[in-house]
């Protein structure tokens, strides 16, 4: 479990996060939603330790991440898997090498053990035939699946994803959501996904937090978001006519 206590992040004169507190539970897909510029990415980067919060603290299993020793921090990092928005695959390595990389760097395993694990994970994300391709030869959806494979290859406790559906067609997007949900259940990870894809919210949002202008404006589940009475949440989630009509219909059904 990850607990965030009242974190703020200030860049120069710009306060991006203004005292956000949240809790992300194990074995669940936790979604962070909000408009562009609402502080989602900064929040995620604070969770990952890429940015240090100006005030407040982040607790991984009740341990304050800012007070960990170098060895403890490295131990924590080995428990983290991250899927970046643009996949962030290493261009100079093949897909197989990309996925093998975290194992090679930190795991004390034999070559055959590592190769077996990489093959297993690539099979899990349906990429068993793409081992020798380079990232530049793979489609956007394939790259995302490789990034997921790389993130889970070392059995992390925490899985973070920054807009995993950006730039993907709706069908591939749905497959990625499904994969993330399945992996969260299989590996029992604390999964935190940063997104503004409403399909993801409706499909996999077991816990959702909504950020607006650096503040936590609303939190709940995908079912609760339907009946949310927060104007900003409604404006954001149901911004399209289709979603508005769908919500109307569903609310009427609920009344009946």
């Amino acid at each position: 479990m990850i607990k965030v206590e009242n974190i703020t992040k200030i860049f120069g004169e710009n306060t991006v996060l203004k005292g956000v507190s949240a809790q992300f539970e194990k074995g669940k897909t936790n979604l962070i939603i909000g408009q562009s510029g609402s502080g989602k990415t900064v929040f995620l980067k604070c969770l990952l330790g890429l940015f240090q919060p100006t005030t407040g603290r982040i607790l991984y299993e009740d341990k304050d991440s800012s007070k960990l020793t170098t060895a403890e921090l490295q131990f924590l990092r080995n428990d983290i898997g991250m899927v970046f928005q643009g996949s962030a695959l290493f261009d100079s390595m093949t897909i197989f090498e990309n996925v093998r990389f975290p194992l090679e760097m930190f795991m004390n395993q034999s070559n055959s053990e590592m190769d077996d694990r990489v093959s297993e994970v690539l099979k899990r994300v349906n990429l068993e035939k793409a081992h020798s391709k380079f990232p530049s030869e793979a489609s956007g959806g394939m790259q995302k699946r490789v990034a997921i494979a790389r993130a889970i290859v070392h059995n992390p406790k925490y899985l973070f994803c920054d807009e995993p559906n950006s730039g993907l067609d709706p069908q591939t997007s749905g497959l990625i959501d499904e994969l993330l949900k399945e992996i969260t259940e299989e590996y029992n990870t604390t999964t935190v996904i940063n997104t503004h894809d409403m399909n993801s919210v409706m499909e996999i949002g077991e816990k959702i937090i909504f950020l607006k202008d650096g503040l936590l404006e609303w939190e709940g589940t995908k079912n609760e978001i339907l009946t949310a009475d927060n104007k900003h949440v409604i404006d954001f989630v149901y911004s399209s006519k289709l979603f508005k009509t769908m919500r109307q219909g569903m609310l009427e059904d609920l009344k009946k």
Binding site: L50, Q74, R77, F84, G86, A88, F90, P102, M105
Partner: protein, 249 residues
Amino acid sequence: MFQPVSSIGKYFLFLYEAFKKPQNLKVYYKLIMREINDLGINSLGLVLFTSLFVGAVVAIQMYNNFDGAAIPIPVYYVGFATKTVLVLEFCPTIISVILGGKVGSFIASSIGTMKVTEQIDALDVMGINSISFLVLPKIIAALVFFPILIMISMVLGIYGGYLAGIITNKWSAIDYIQGLQMPFRDFYFVYAFIKVLFFAFIIATIPAYYGYNVKGGSLEVGRSSTQAVVWTIVMIIIMNLILTHIMLG
């Protein structure tokens, strides 16, 4: 006003991070081999071509200067003068400037692209010291392979002068070889290779610093790459003067 001073400070902090203990020697060994290929072997063609032709040009110019001199200078001095110019200045400095352009832009743009595509963040999230991971293998590869490149350049440059004599028929092979065999201070080679080691360090680190600190998109990667090459060349030239003053002044 304080920006250059703070940049120098940041550069040294960057170097401090780069020299931290490698996290996995096996992986670093592989990276060093790859960097030797990317930075060294891939520059071999350019170095061979440039050295051969400039060696020929230097020899022809030496011949013309000696030929028009008021005091007669024996033709075999062409070989001696060509060797001296190539060993003392052309090969260590000018080839390093050329490498600064080619290798420097490659380092700055490749690290810069990794930065803007979040590949460096990916390394950091995994708990990898990204500066050491990206820069230390480049420094080692440059320090190991650039002296070899310069040695090859010296041999090729001298051979270029030899070929020029055969093609222009202005001096004989025997004269040229006789000039090459004239007494030459061994320390000149030491001086040349010490310079190369300093230049190799500059070529590996300044572009890496610029690439690592890119903020923005592809346009900024291009800009930082250009800046990296400019500052690398400027630093090579300044360092050349300092080292020459210290060792030969």
